[in-house]
């Protein structure tokens, strides 16, 4: 039985977008959304529109940049790519995320608790 797709955990969308742009840049909004859904393999209920405020937040912080270009099927699109500061941020956030997950796992698997 496959589990119901879950909502995007609060505060994780920015990190997902950043990681996606780290893996493949430049990418337009639609491409980013599709890529996140592919990687999640149906376990995530993503309102694709919500990535636009996330993209704006990241751009304001200087972690990504954007420019207008032409997409693969000849449409005008805004392409986003990660910056050097964004890579640094991604690394530190990924480490902190890993620590959190590890801590939660230990806590949840502790038999004596």
């Amino acid at each position: 039985m496959s589990p119901q797709p879950s909502e995007v955990p609060y505060g994780t969308l920015d990190l997902m977008v950043l990681k996606t742009l780290d893996a493949m840049s430049p990418l337009h909004g639609y491409g980013i959304a599709r890529r996140i859904e592919q990687v999640a393999q149906g376990s995530l209920a993503l309102n694709q529109g919500t990535i636009y405020p996330a993209l704006l937040r990241l751009e304001q912080k200087g972690w990504i940049k954007s420019e207008w270009g032409t997409s693969e099927n000849n449409r005008r699109a805004r392409f986003y790519s990660i910056t050097r500061a964004g890579r640094k941020q991604l690394q530190s956030e990924a480490e902190s995320w890993a620590r959190t997950v590890e801590m939660m796992n230990r806590l949840l698997q502790d038999q004596s608790a």
Binding site: H28, G29, Y30, A33, N47, Q48, G49, T50, Y52, P53, L56, R57, E59, Q60, K61, G62, S71, N73, R75, R76, A77, R78
Partner: protein
Amino acid sequence: MTLRVIVSRLIATLRTRHRDAELSDEVREHLEALTEDYVRRGMPLADARTAARREFGGVTPMKEAYRDQRGLPFVDALQQDLRFAGRTFIKSPRLTLVVIVTLALGIGANTAVFSVLNAVLLRPLPVPDPEQLFVLAPPTPTAVPQRLSFSMFERLRAATPGTARLAATSRVAVMYVVSDQAAPERVRVQLVSGEFFAMLGVTALSGRVFNPDDNRVVGGHPLAVVSDQWWRRRFGAASDVIGRTLLVNGTLVTVVGIAQPGFEGTRRSDGGVEARIGRALR
């Protein structure tokens, strides 16, 4: 909020329309790409459009979140308030007129009152150490102004301790001044003792100010020091004004000097006349 984010938001606030159009373009392209995907998988166009919208989520709430994130919400709100205020004013011109006139009168009256208070009470005398000046007065105010005899002043002066200096002055009084140069004029005059200028630290622009030798003999020193302003108005800043005689309330006095610019006595007047004690014409 870091400075970088604030600056970015500030710029965005100024370019609202441009950025709104850009976001609309992005959203439209995104929806079309989603629709095409569904069509490619064999869905009829109408259904594909619906599915694309569902997958995208609410466009309006997203745009609102985007706008709040992008600009400075209070600036946007302020703009809206100002536009609303402007429309209201245009809609009721009479009320607007009343409000404007009320405000103008209120502000004007306050400014006028403050100007007077500032000149009379707040602005210090244009002398070197205005905070070191004191006025000797009876311990309890009397209904009738008390007069001070010259001998009483001399006793007080003798009893003044240390480096303190004492000078006597009258109130500012309006006197008739006649000179051969111009028509008779009502002039504000302060009668002062010879110590007056030295006590205040006020010097002469030209000629000399009074000194204590100018009140050795009661009534024996009919001299006047005129203010810079009065000298310019009355004599057109004539260079030979020193030594001229003036008829002040019927007494002939000789102009000995012009006080330093800006000094007009301890209350506003046109010069100092030394008469009995020594007059200072302002």
